[in-house]
């Protein structure tokens, strides 16, 4: 079972719809025991970093996610991806989950529309099991104003806007983060979710 962590942020139903469509057993939950029992975790999120970390803390799930993320596949989506990092700088400095080294700060793109919203191309940087079966010309759907700043070693794929914006990140073990919305990225996004589900032992 894939637990979709429901801590009050974002449109979690589209993630559920995509997993249902792919035939993966899943559950929207904010119950600690479900997260411990689950075979994999998805951390969604739309909104602001400090508020989302606060809501996660209020749900009493922060420590469980940090712990379970070392044992089973965890995928953060959009703000959920950003929360995987050590620090966020949206409005104020906020501690993230610290599962991947690096920080989250504003996208710097003078002359470009912010938010970075729309379909952008994935540029592969490092091998990643979530990209199995993808070609060289894959577009995914982004909506965000902040981005991760981290080591290249943690970036599986980025996009250009116009500088490098980390798109798919990983700790190289169980933790993955998608800055884009795989649940809104057509067949490419479904393939990425299918690959994630395929990591379940």
């Amino acid at each position: 079972m894939i637990a979709i962590i429901d801590y009050g942020a974002g449109n979690i139903f589209s993630v559920k719809n995509a997993l249902d469509y792919l035939g993966f057993e899943n559950k929207l939950t904010s119950d600690k025991d479900d997260l411990i029992k689950a075979d994999a975790l998805i951390l969604p999120g739309v909104g602001a970093f400090p508020e989302a970390m606060k809501m996660l803390g209020n749900s009493g799930l922060t420590d469980v996610i940090k712990e379970e993320g070392k044992k089973k596949p965890l995928l953060g989506i959009c703000l959920g991806m950003q929360m995987l990092f050590e620090k966020g700088y949206e409005f104020e400095e906020t501690d993230g989950l610290g599962l991947i080294g690096g920080k989250v700060d504003k996208i710097v793109a003078p002359g470009y529309i912010i938010p970075h919203m729309g379909w952008n191309k994935l540029e592969k940087l490092n091998d990643c099991p979530l990209m199995n079966g993808l070609g060289d010309n894959e577009y995914v759907y982004f909506v965000h104003s902040f981005q991760a700043y981290c080591d290249d070693a943690n970036i599986a794929a980025y996009c250009e806007y116009p500088d490098k914006v980390p798109a798919l990140v990983t700790d190289g073990k169980f933790v993955f983060g998608a800055q884009f919305h795989p649940e809104k990225s057509g067949n490419t996004g479904l393939q990425i979710l299918k690959n994630f589900g395929g990591l379940i032992k």
């Binding site: 139903f13 589209s14 529309i113 919203m117």
Partner: protein, 251 residues
């Protein structure tokens, strides 16, 4: 870099796709969920549902259509028509829409844009505009499906909605709509040059080169069409292949 988007639009009444010509002579053309699935297969970058239902019962049926589509189609869904309040926006997003499009009601009550953007984020508030030329390089905004002239200058309105927090503009030319003579390049250029949010071109698409032309000559980031795709004169895939071969970045 961001890809230019091709967006098919589905007008829905009482749970069925309908298509009118110049806002009149409406006829039924099919099941909206099936149409959305077909567009998804063709490579649509986003799908717009427009509710032209007048009744309360019809609204429920319409939101069921959105809900069912969201279970089968995994690209962004934009939903417009009949959205009057923040609660309407919330209900529509909960049904599975990623963005809402507000038009007449935004003109009557501009605060709806600000409130919607504050609560749900600018990225999900698209403002639809129907505009008509009144003089050289001058257009006014119409409401109620292009029937009522609000005597509101188009460019002033664009500045207003951008300040209020609109995330996107869907600009429909009443002069071009239904003519199949191409998008209203002059009006689109005027709007794109006067705002820094994405603009979707709407109204007038009749042949494949019209899409290339609008991307080549204006700053529009997306092009929308309804009847052209409904009546299978062109597929979304054909339009994208054509634009790609001409050097436009598309998905």
């Amino acid at each position: 870099m961001l890809a230019k988007r091709i967006i098919p639009c589905l007008d829905v009444r009482d749970g069925k796709v309908v298509k009118g010509v110049n806002f009149e002579g409406i006829k039924e053309v099919g099941d909206p969920v099936a149409c959305a699935e077909e567009y998804n297969k063709q490579g649509a970058d986003e799908i717009v549902f427009y509710d032209i239902t007048a009744s309360f019962e019809g609204r429920g049926v319409f939101l069921d259509v959105v809900r069912e589509t969201a279970k089968k189609v995994f690209v962004p869904l934009t939903v417009g028509g009949g959205i009057k309040t923040v609660d309407d926006i919330r209900e529509t997003l909960r049904a599975g829409a990623d963005k809402v499009s507000v038009n007449s009601q935004a003109v009557k009550n501009p605060d709806l844009i600000r409130a919607g953007a504050d609560i749900f984020g600018s990225q999900c508030i698209c403002v639809g505009i129907d505009a008509k030329k009144i003089a050289d390089h001058k257009w006014t905004v119409y409401i109620n499906g292009g029937r009522v002239d609000m005597k509101l200058d188009l460019i002033d309105w664009v500045h207003t909605i951008e300040k209020l927090g609109a995330g996107e503009i869907c600009l429909n030319s009443i002069d071009a709509d239904g003519t199949k003579a191409g998008f209203d390049i002059e009006m689109l250029k005027a709007v794109c040059d006067n705002c820094s949010i994405p603009v979707i071109a709407s109204g007038g698409a009749g042949k494949i080169n019209d899409f290339y032309e609008v991307f080549e000559k204006t700053g529009a980031t997306a092009a929308l069409a309804a009847s052209l795709f409904h009546f299978k004169e062109l597929t979304v895939g054909e339009v994208k292949d054509y634009c790609r071969n001409k050097g436009v970045i598309v998905r």
